[in-house]
């Protein structure tokens, strides 16, 4: 209900600072940027916790309304993007894997192909690329839809009807984005690895499909599967949180929606890079 939104945003009203007069010195500018950053982090953190709380607490509530909404969001952040991801997988296979296979073959290092592919595609490029593409395609739509709904008073209308906006508007988007990015990451990786072999095959690299997949299987450990799943779901969850937060929190006027959309995408990219860095550390430690 309203208390949920109010809690998340009461300390995070950054508009006061954004609309303030231009700072006179670089120190002022730096201080303001730092303060804005901390306020945003605080707001995002509160919003993430509240969303998680609502997700768990209201699990199963109004199934006949929430079920279709969640399926719709999964379709939007997953199924609807499959054709585009097929193209991207094909391009990734050609740009990265095909050329890597070709280069390794030249130096007689074809035995390292599996581990190279696992590091480049499974651990890094696959999840990150999937997250960025979904952020661009669906995350921006979240900001604009929610920002417009907020500006048009639809969020107030939900509250007036006793419907928790976090439950009705945010939870489906978070689930849809997490499931969508996870599924598309797996889809992208499989597609890229398959098309990569196809490109290598076309370059007359002497590597049978059996050897290729055997190398991949040997290079993959249980940790790769576990961290891949966690990473993709974390990308989905936090992209949804960042985009929904900006859509729902700040803009109360229609003219601010487009500016906030740009800000949300920028912060979404930063969050993805930070999550990626965290998982690199995890890989190194584990």
């Amino acid at each position: 209900m309203r208390e949920n939104l109010a809690k998340a945003f009461e300390f995070a009203d950054t508009q006061v600072f954004r609309r303030a007069t231009r700072p006179k010195t670089y120190t002022d500018l730096l201080g303001r940027k730092l303060f804005l950053f901390l306020l945003t982090v605080q707001g995002l953190g509160a919003f993430a916790l509240i969303t998680l709380g609502v997700l768990l607490k209201k699990n199963g509530l109004a199934r006949n309304v929430m079920g279709p909404r969640i399926r719709q969001e999964i379709a939007r952040a997953g199924v609807a993007l499959m054709p585009m991801f097929l193209f991207v997988a094909f391009a990734l296979g050609f740009l990265v894997i095909g050329q890597t296979v070709s280069a390794l073959a030249k130096f007689g290092a074809i035995n390292y192909l599996g581990s190279t592919m696992v590091i480049v595609v499974v651990r890094e490029l696959g999840p990150l690329l999937a997250a960025m593409l979904v952020l661009a395609r669906v995350g921006t739509a979240h900001v604009i839809e929610l920002g417009t709904a907020r500006a048009m008073g639809e969020v107030e209308a939900l509250e007036a009807l006793g419907i928790d906006p976090v439950h009705y508007l945010i939870v489906p988007r978070v689930i849809g984005m997490a499931v969508g990015i996870f599924s598309l990451t797996v889809y992208l990786i499989i597609g890229a690895l398959a098309s990569g072999y196809l490109w290598a095959f076309l370059q007359d690299v002497t590597l049978t499909p059996g050897d290729y997949f055997k190398q991949l299987a040997e290079a993959l450990g249980w940790l790769d599967f576990a961290l891949l799943a966690l990473k993709a779901i974390a990308f989905g969850f936090f992209i949804a949180i960042v985009t929904c937060y900006h859509g729902l929190a700040q803009p109360l006027r229609l003219e601010e929606v487009s500016r906030v959309a740009v800000r949300a995408v920028t912060q979404g990219v930063i969050v993805c890079v930070l999550i990626d860095a965290l998982f690199i550390v995890l890989y190194l430690v584990a």
Partner: protein, 271 residues
């Protein structure tokens, strides 16, 4: 106390709305007070009309009354329960109050029929088909059936406002708050609204004949044709104060220039 705050032994129920020294901040900037020191009691079955010029704080005051924001100060009791804003614990109380926004504020991603059905579907976990069956009588009553499958953006403002009323009524609230509902309505629609709200207040067949407590805000008293004679109470929102005026006769007799303006009379004229 039972679910509806009615005491056993025939004791009168708690008044739906009771304010003591309430101040209201603006929705967009809570630090700016739009209405202050309100002492107001709305008894069950009363019909209040709050008049005020544009930007006098009517919408913010009504939104606070509906629990969409907390009072800046003072005590606000809804059905006898001290209320700030509605949380999960106060959901039952929230559903006893219907709210019609100025302009409707329908959900643009849903059709008119889905808009009306949403509260019912959400709170009673009905399937879309079951919800559609439930809302059908209300849509027919409000002449909205032909528009049930149309998106709000494709419908004229008159009908959007009517759909917003249907959405607020679908859960059969005991108290109905309407924020400037007549603004921009065409003549035929205005007559329909005045007649329908009057029927709801007296106890419409659709709500089982139960009278409904109502609060309506308006910025044009001259449009309330036909509401002069009934036992309605009028108040004026001016200079951050809620000033009770009394009956329509008292409104007409008021020498306040603001009231004359709201009655669309020249300021120097007398009735």
């Amino acid at each position: 106390m039972n679910e509806k705050n009615e005491l056993p032994g025939g004791v009168a129920p708690q008044p739906p709305i009771e304010m003591r020294g309430v101040s209201v901040g603006a929705m967009r900037d809570a630090s700016f007070t739009v209405v202050e020191d309100v002492n107001w009691l709305v008894a069950t079955g009363e019909f209040w009309v709050i008049a005020g010029q544009q930007h006098s704080g009517k919408s913010d005051f009504l939104k606070m009354t509906a629990g969409l924001m907390a009072p800046a100060s003072g005590s606000y009791k809804l059905f006898g329960i001290e209320t700030q804003t509605f949380g999960e614990a106060e959901l039952a109380g929230r559903l006893r109050v219907g709210f019609v926004f100025e302009g409707g504020q329908l959900f643009n991603h849903l059709t008119i029929g889905e808009n009306v059905a949403l509260p019912l579907q959400y709170h009673q976990n009905l399937t879309p088909d079951a919800a559609a069956r439930e809302v059908q009588p209300l849509l027919e009553l409000m002449e909205l059936t032909p528009l049930a499958d149309v998106m709000p953006s494709s419908v004229a403002a008159n009908w959007r406002q009517r759909a917003a009323l249907a959405r607020a009524l679908i859960l059969k609230p005991e108290v109905l708050l309407l924020d400037n509902p007549f603004r921009g309505l065409g003549g035929r629609h205005l007559q329909w609204w005045l007649r329908f709200l009057d029927q709801l207040w007296r106890g419409h067949e659709w709500s089982g004949g139960r009278p409904m407590t109502m609060v309506v805000t308006t910025d044009d008293l001259s449009r309330l044709t036909g509401w002069e004679n009934a036992n309605r109470k009028f108040a004026l929102l001016r200079d951050k104060k809620l000033i009770p005026l009394g009956s329509w006769r008292a409104v007409e007799a008021a020498g306040d220039p603001a009231v004359k303006e709201l009655l669309a009379m020249p300021v120097g004229a007398t009735m």
